[in-house]
Amino acid sequence: MSLEDNMLIENFLNDSLSEGDKRKMIARMKDDVAFRKKVFFEQQLFSNLDNEDWDLSKNPAVSDEIKEYEQLFKDTPSQELKATLATVNKKYQKKQNKGTTPWLLYAGVAVIVFFIGLTVFLQTNNQNSPQELYAVYFDVSEVPSLLHRGSDGKRSLINAQKLFEDKKYDQALHILTNELIGSEKNKAAIYLYTGISQMELGMFDAAAITFDTLIHSKLIDAPKGIWYKALLFLKMGEREKTREMLQRITQSSDNYKFKEATELLESL
């Protein structure tokens, strides 16, 4: 395989080809069996050797080995082992729960004491104005990186990340706005960085539009936009609107920033 083909396949798997190049690539894979095999193998390398991925079987055909294993999982010894595992698991977890009860109790008491202390502290120090809460809950270091997985270190994004970290939001925003038009990759992070930059620059209406676009998109990280829109309203001093956004997060403990949203709602 040539170095050029290698780079092409890599960009295809990282989803960083333009739509046109992607179409060409798919057409080539249809016609060229050897090339298709190379793409397939490259994908296997990534899925098996990237610690955060997994190479799931894709072939619907069932080999003899699979059939044989299927039978073994169905047979009596396996069913008996399954039953034993379930029983031992139950016993073990019960024992663990007993053992940890006093700890849980102490931890529970400690948490209650901590929150009472925190509430008194916040009240006596008058620290629950929206802007102060914003300062407590807005943490730039928690914003997902623009350069994480799949990024090949695009120069413009490296610059934007650095400017953002240096709080040079106006310069970062200039790059991010251009990236939003062209880039398909890591789009949710670009929206977040754009919205936060606008928020920090006091461009509240623009920030609201950016977060809304993210929230209504089909991107996996779309729900993160709700938390940052809540912070936007908090910064604007809009308590009621902040509450509305936070209530959307607290509807399910699976939601991004559920714990923080619950605490913040109480503080408001």
Partner: protein, 186 residues
């Protein structure tokens, strides 16, 4: 306990031996699952699946566990959780209808996927230290700019060429192994 004793406990359905396995390894698996978007119940399910997978595979193949049993069981549990996360992600992002696979078929597939993963990681260990280091960074999708810095290369072009050569070596070693032909198309 020795590796053989652990395996015998599983093969003979010995609940006392299995309880020891729980005491030694379950906390580590639980910690991994919970730190990676899982819950207590997920950890319990994954641990039982891992024990079942090892036992059934051992019954069929009498395969060699090169490390100690505790470490191997942790790796299998970790991989089964990564597998579960990938399946959940596919369910969320895939608009098409996903075919429901019977439980035993799914368990069978997980054994073969584990075997494929073992083949790939084993071969990565066999190439030169330098190649292993650069490919580990590469497969973790580290940006080229960072690879250049960490490996002390003069440019991204040099890094790309080096990765290209190392990957070719690794691919060659994997494909030459007899196991690959049966694991290629699962």
């Amino acid at each position: 306990m020795e590796n053989e004793e652990y395996l015998n406990a599983l093969l003979s359905n010995d609940s006392r031996g299995i309880m020891i396995i729980y005491q030694v390894v379950f906390p580590r698996v639980r910690k991994f699952v919970i730190q990676n978007k899982g819950q207590q119940q997920d950890a319990e399910d994954i641990f039982q699946k891992a024990l079942l997978q090892i036992t059934v595979r051992y019954r069929r193949e009498r395969f060699e566990i090169k490390e100690n049993f505790e470490a191997y069981l942790f790796t299998v549990g970790k991989n089964l959780w990564r597998r579960e996360l990938k399946m959940r992600k596919n369910r969320v992002t895939n608009d098409s209808i996903i075919e429901l696979v019977p439980e035993e078929r799914d368990l069978a597939l997980s054994v073969l996927e584990q075997k494929r993963w073992e083949l790939f990681t084993e071969k990565l260990e066999l190439i030169s230290e330098n190649c292993k280091k650069i490919l580990t960074l590469f497969f973790a999708r580290t940006p080229y700019s960072v690879i250049v810095e960490q490996m002390g290369y003069s440019s991204e072009t040099v890094a790309r060429q080096r990765i290209f050569k190392c990957k070719a070596k690794l691919s060659d070693t994997i494909k030459k192994d007899g196991r690959y032909s049966s694991l290629e198309k699962i």
